[in-house]
């Protein structure tokens, strides 16, 4: 469970102070499937980075599963990023020259886990890439690269996966494939999914839509996801891969 109160992020560029976040209060329950919308520069990425423990707020408190993140030192944050959180970026952020399976196994390496290849292979299977294990990023399409990144974010079985415009670099058909993967992770593994988007199609695919403007939350609505609405064309999104039962220890 995530609880933000009065989160402020101020950047100082030269003599200018820019408030990227200006007192954000937000609660996210376990198992939610939500999106964050807002115009460019409204602070979406800043918020995601703080929730993802990649960045620190200037003011306010961030409680993650009852722990005040502000009090944690570097190594503890690294551990949180490794075990509790998964992050997916708009630009995929895969390591160049590394095969898909090795990319996906990487978080497990930093965790000191054994049987890494097996878990990585299972994660790749979850995102439907079992036949692309040895491909390097340059040998994969954009959608496939993003699915590798998703596999990497989920291989440690995190409680929360955060994605900053995960479909921003993809066409609409591929976007829906990726969304379907997220949905199955949410529904079948109970992973909390929160992602930033500025596409309404993508936002309507989630159960909660939060709107940001100038660093403030200006809207927070429940939504009936498009795939549950009859007659909506986006409901034809491909079904999620069936078996997600096999979990790495």
């Amino acid at each position: 469970m995530i609880s933000l109160t009065g989160i402020t992020k101020i950047y100082t560029v030269g003599t200018q102070r820019v408030a990227a976040l200006n007192g954000v209060d937000l609660e996210i329950e376990d198992g939610e499937f939500l999106s964050i919308m807002g115009p460019s520069g409204s602070g979406k990425s800043t918020l995601m980075n703080i929730i993802g423990c990649l960045d620190r707020q200037t003011e306010g408190d961030y409680m993650l599963d009852g722990v005040n993140v502000r009090r944690l030192v570097d190594n503890q944050l690294a551990m949180l990023r490794n075990r509790r959180l998964g992050f997916v970026f708009q630009s995929f952020n895969l390591l160049p020259r590394m095969s898909a399976i090795d990319q996906v196994a990487l978080p497990l390496l930093y965790r000191g886990a054994t049987n890494r290849k097996r878990a990585a292979a299972a994660a790749l299977k979850l995102v439907g890439l079992e036949d692309r294990m040895d491909h390097k990023p340059t040998q994969l399409s954009g959608g496939q690269q993003q699915r590798v990144a998703i596999a990497r974010s989920l291989v440690t079985r995190p409680a929360i996966i955060l994605a900053d415009e995960p479909t921003g670099a993809l066409d609409s058909k591929t976007s829906m494939d990726v969304m379907a993967v997220f949905r199955s992770l949410n529904e079948e593994l109970g992973i909390t999914i929160a992602f930033v988007t500025h596409e309404h199609d993508v936002a309507y695919y989630t159960r909660r839509i939060i709107s940001l403007l100038d660093g403030k939350v200006v809207g927070d609505e429940r939504n009936v996801p498009s795939f549950e609405r009859d007659g909506d064309e986006t409901a034809h999104a491909p079904a999620a891969p069936a078996s997600i039962a096999e979990a790495p220890s």
Binding site: D74, M79, L95, M98, L106, L109, R111, R152
Partner: protein
């Protein structure tokens, strides 16, 4: 992360950019190869010179002129201060500890502006003439292998006979037996030269090269013959310049006494207060040679270490560039849970692995270069002796270089803020 994981990560990263890895290594490879080759050469030279000097015999004394050369060129008459007459005087003094004496003078040796040529049936060889006495083989423990050596009769008659060194015999006669044949020897400086016909009476056994002269590349002639025929070796007062008096003592315990008494005698003869000659025993020569070799080795090792140091700076530079270039990679690794130490170790181990592999390649290259140098006789007859010590020193220095070159870049990498690093580009 276990050490195996860190190593695996470093190796994977090095493998993913082979060219950069090899270029990074190059400085270390060359540095270590230089250390191995240069120390092998200097070690070999040291051992070789040591062996040859020890081979001289421990109860020998050598007397040489004090000022025999200027810039490596012998200047006849100027400052030369050893004469055949000195040798005779020592003999006459009848020191009871002297076993035998042989004076020697040379023409056409290394650094001599007078050249000597031997000719036989169109075969031509430039060599050194060594004028000496019948006692020479006994004193120097260097005997005739075929035929005979010079006799007293050769001296009194100033006979035109010669004994050839092994190399000269081979070069002029190939498989033919030289004994009894006549060769022509011409001695000269620039356009002026004089030639004589000599009969070969013997061939010396093989000795090998010494520090600066090849003892097999020599033609031995009777002292009076050379005296009579070549005016250049006579000084204005009619004395005969010689290069060296070899004295064989009965007992090595009397070396110090002999040096003292013979020195006094020569100073009296030359009417000087301080010696204008040098008296050296085998161990004196060994000491000097060892000292020279030591300082040479210090020089050689310093050069090699400097080149290693430069290689190390090169590695540090590449590692720093690599940290900047891989900032995004570092950000990604941190985003998925790499701790500071994980990043620090990754870069540090990468650096150490590069230099250690460079060290290994350098050892191979150095051993290879040494083999080639030996096979193709680069550096003349220099022997190369590769010592395990220097291989270990090379490795250790390589690894330490990697450690030092890697620490700062690795620390920089580990300190990067994840979000800053991800934004990089």
């Amino acid at each position: 992360m276990t050490l195996a994981d860190v190593l695996g990560t470093a190796l994977a990263s090095l493998r993913s950019n082979i060219l950069r890895t090899l270029l990074t290594m190059l400085g270390i490879v060359i540095g270590i190869a230089a250390v191995i080759t240069l120390t092998a050469a200097s070690e070999g030279a040291q051992q070789g010179v040591g062996d040859q000097i020890r081979g001289l015999g421990s109860n020998l004394l050598f007397i040489r002129p004090g000022l025999e050369e200027t810039d490596g060129i012998q200047l006849p008459g100027s400052g030369v201060s050893l004469f055949l007459e000195d040798s005779r005087a020592i003999e006459k003094a009848n020191f009871e500890y002297i076993d035998a004496i042989a004076a020697q003078g040379t023409v056409g040796g290394p650094g001599d502006f007078i050249g000597a040529q031997a000719i036989y049936l169109g075969q031509n060889k430039s060599t050194m003439l060594l004028a000496t006495e019948p006692s020479y083989p006994f004193v120097r423990d260097f005997y005739v292998d075929n035929g005979r050596f010079l006799t007293e009769e050769d001296l009194t008659k100033k006979s035109l006979v010669v004994v050839l060194g092994g190399d000269v015999a081979d070069d002029l006669f190939d498989t033919e037996d030289p004994v009894g044949k006549t060769i022509r020897i011409s001695v000269g400086a620039g356009p002026i030269s004089i030639g004589f016909n000599f009969t070969v009476v013997g061939v010396m056994e093989r000795r090998g090269a010494s520090a600066n002269t090849d003892q097999d590349d020599v033609i031995i002639v009777p002292m009076p013959t050379l005296q009579a025929r070549i005016s250049l070796i006579r000084d204005p007062r009619g004395r005969t310049n010689i290069d060296q008096i070899n004295i064989k003592l009965k007992n090595r315990d009397e070396i110090d006494q002999a040096k003292e008494e013979i020195g006094q005698l020569l100073m009296a003869l030359h009417a000087v207060d301080s010696p204008d000659f040098r008296i050296q025993s085998q161990s004196d020569i060994l000491d000097t040679a060892t000292q020279v070799e030591r300082s040479l080795q210090v020089l050689v090792v310093s050069i090699a270490l400097i080149s290693l140091f430069v290689g190390g700076i090169g590695i540090m530079n590449i590692m720093l560039v690599s940290v900047t270039e891989r900032t995004r990679e570092i950000g990604i690794r941190k985003a998925i849970g790499a701790k500071r130490m994980d990043i620090l170790w990754q870069f540090l181990i990468e650096s150490i692995v590069v230099t250690t592999m460079g060290g290994a390649l350098g050892v191979l290259a150095g051993v290879g270069a040494t083999e080639i140098a030996e096979r193709f006789n680069i550096g003349g007859d220099t022997q190369y002796v590769i010592t395990p010590l220097w291989i270990m020193v090379g490795f250790a220095v390589a690894a330490i270089t990697g450690l030092f070159a890697g620490v700062y870049p690795a620390w920089q990498a580990s300190r990067l803020d994840p979000i800053e690093a991800l934004r990089h580009e």
